[in-house]
């Protein structure tokens, strides 16, 4: 029987980091390259307000999970800020702190109404969007570096892991933006009425399809390289192969339900005229697909956290 050293708090940590990074990256992209579209600007604004929240919650979760906090040393986590080491966790701590600061400053540029693409804060907003995009893309890959840097954990010890997390974070960003669109739909019933131009939903669905396909490809490559390799890695990956204890969670819940199905929904919506995107399909692409993506991303992180710990190097 294996005892998990890292439990649900770390699963949430990996999920929340990716969520915040993805939301900020997509929001910054919209500000930098689609700011002439009022609907895109509104979406970027929602994203700017949401982006720091998962990371702030994540910081709280991580502190609560520390052994020192459990032992009553509530502020011992500040030791993280007394040193910079080459440890992925140390680098990640500083990156996440920078992310929180930049995302809060970025959100502040949207705070005072009327915020618009041409308001006086546009220069500062664009500057912070560039900084936010850089830090968000780095933080998006960070969970992968955190896990893959350990030779003692063969399941995680793959250069593809940071790439999987990178794509997964961006997919989460798209998913949140689609959910925002669904929320806005309550006051404006159709995509056409929202004045989206080419259709923001269609655009997001198209980008989401590409990113989901990229993530799926990377997941498959990760499994194939591990399975076709030798030694500890091949042994470790058996937990997600047929008969493995995590096979169903991985292939059915994380991959099929949480990645392939929403990708297909987005694909159907992505390559059709925006005016025809109504009714059940609109709801599916703006509500069902993002919710499935959020669920799938969480399950993927659950599988990674557990599989990495219940497997180890072969032999002694």
């Amino acid at each position: 029987m294996d005892e998990l050293v890292w439990g649900y708090p770390i699963v949430f940590h990996l999920f929340l980091v990716s969520l915040g990074a993805g939301v900020l990256a997509v929001s910054a992209y919209l500000v930098l390259w689609r700011s002439d579209d009022p609907a895109a600007f509104a979406l970027a604004r929602y994203g700017a307000f949401l982006a720091p929240l998962p990371l702030l919650l994540d910081g709280l979760v991580l502190i609560l999970d520390l052994g020192s906090f459990h032992a009553g040393y509530w502020f011992k986590f500040l030791n993280l800020y007394k040193i910079v080491t080459a440890s992925p966790m140390s680098i990640g701590t500083w990156l996440i702190t920078a992310f929180i600061i930049i995302s809060l400053l970025y959100a502040h540029t949207f705070l005072r109404m009327p915020a618009g693409p041409d308001d006086p804060r546009v220069g500062r907003r664009r500057g912070l969007a560039w900084a936010g995009l850089a830090v968000a893309l780095t933080v998006a890959a960070y969970p992968g570096f955190l896990l893959s840097g350990m030779q003692a954990r063969p399941f995680w010890n793959s250069p593809l892991v940071p790439l999987v997390y990178f794509f997964s974070a961006l997919v989460l960003g798209i998913a949140c933006k689609l959910l925002f669109l669904a929320w806005r739909t309550r006051s404006t019933p159709t995509t056409k009425d929202r004045g989206d131009g080419p259709g923001l939903t269609v655009w997001l669905a198209r980008i989401g399809t590409y990113l989901s396909a990229g993530e799926l490809l990377l997941v498959i490559l990760f499994v194939v390289f591990a399975h076709r390799g030798a030694g500890s890695v091949t042994q470790a990956v058996t937990v997600i192969m047929g008969g493995g204890v995590l096979a169903t969670v991985f292939w059915f819940w994380a991959v099929a339900v949480g990645l392939v199905l929403p990708m297909l929904i987005m694909m159907v919506a992505a390559f059709r005229p925006p005016a025809t995107l109504e009714g059940v399909l609109l709801k599916a692409v703006e509500i069902a697909a993002p919710l499935l993506l959020l669920f799938g991303a969480f399950m993927l992180r659950y599988v990674f956290v557990v599989a990495g710990q219940i497997t180890g190097p072969v032999g002694l």
Binding site: N79, L80, S87, G149, A152, Q235, G312, G315, L316
Partner: protein
């Protein structure tokens, strides 16, 4: 207006300059940390403490485990040093051997590399990997990075713990508690850099192995006649069972 613009430019420049100075000062404060893994990793220590475990002499009595627990008040279910029972074969061709385990005091320790606070470091003077409980925050990263599963999170202190070759005893000229208590003289401790030490002579004259050599960690715990078989190594039809008294039952 022009003054205002100039004032703004000056302010920004001054801000950037101060930001740069602040960053440089922070980096200067951060890097000379005496326990930074970069500063303290000992590649060529003058003294190199090592342990040789002659498994032919081990009878699995657990005296070492108990002595260690008593020495450090290790919580129930956790061990700094423990003994594994390796059983294999089918009657009448059976064998049971004992494999004492502890931190391997690697010359290339992965736990030091991953520690985000510098709480784990390698002593320059003797190569022992140590943990400072005042700095450790209990993130458990090192526990997962150790290929020997030699670390655990102490639920009382909230920090990572492991064997440190009884540094407090060694400093005072004593042997580690497990070595002193071993009834079969299976554990031999000493300075590898001293060719006249018992460990130096044993390594020069005896075939030894280390655990998970392929990891490249360069362990300083050597085994004589150790059975490296694990449950995952069982050939078709062969019975292999590895048991311990640890809460974490399986090797990982």
């Amino acid at each position: 207006m022009a003054d205002g613009v100039r004032g703004k430019v000056y302010g920004r420049r001054r801000f950037l300059k101060q930001l740069g100075q602040g960053t440089a000062a922070a980096a200067a404060l951060a890097y000379p940390h005496p326990r930074s893994p970069h500063a303290a990793t000992a590649k060529n220590p003058q003294v190199r403490y090592a342990m040789v475990i002659d498994t032919r002499r081990c009878v699995g009595c657990h005296a070492c485990s108990v002595a260690c627990k008593a020495e450090f008040d290790v919580p129930l279910g956790f061990y700094r040093s423990w003994v594994e029972y390796v059983e294999k074969g089918t009657f009448p061709d059976v064998r049971r051997s004992f494999l004492p385990r502890l931190c391997n005091q690697c010359s290339n320790p992965p736990c030091v590399d991953v520690c985000p606070t510098g709480a784990t470091w390698q002593r320059e003077e003797d190569g022992i990997v140590e943990i400072d409980p005042d700095i450790c925050i209990g993130c458990k990263y090192c526990i997962l990075a150790c290929p020997y599963d030699a670390r655990f999170a102490n639920p009382v202190t909230g920090t990572a713990e492991k064997c440190d070759f009884c540094l407090h005893r060694v400093r005072n000229g004593l042997e580690p508690a497990c070595v002193e208590t071993c009834i079969g003289r299976a554990r031999i401790f000493g300075d590898l850099n001293d060719p006249n030490s018992e460990v130096g002579r044993l390594l020069a004259t005896t075939a030894v192995t280390v655990l998970r050599q392929e990891m490249g960690t360069k362990p300083n715990v050597y085994y004589i006649a150790a059975d490296h078989t694990g449950e995952g190594d069982a050939r078709a039809g062969q019975y292999v069972r590895v048991t311990t008294h640890r809460r974490q039952k399986d090797r990982r």
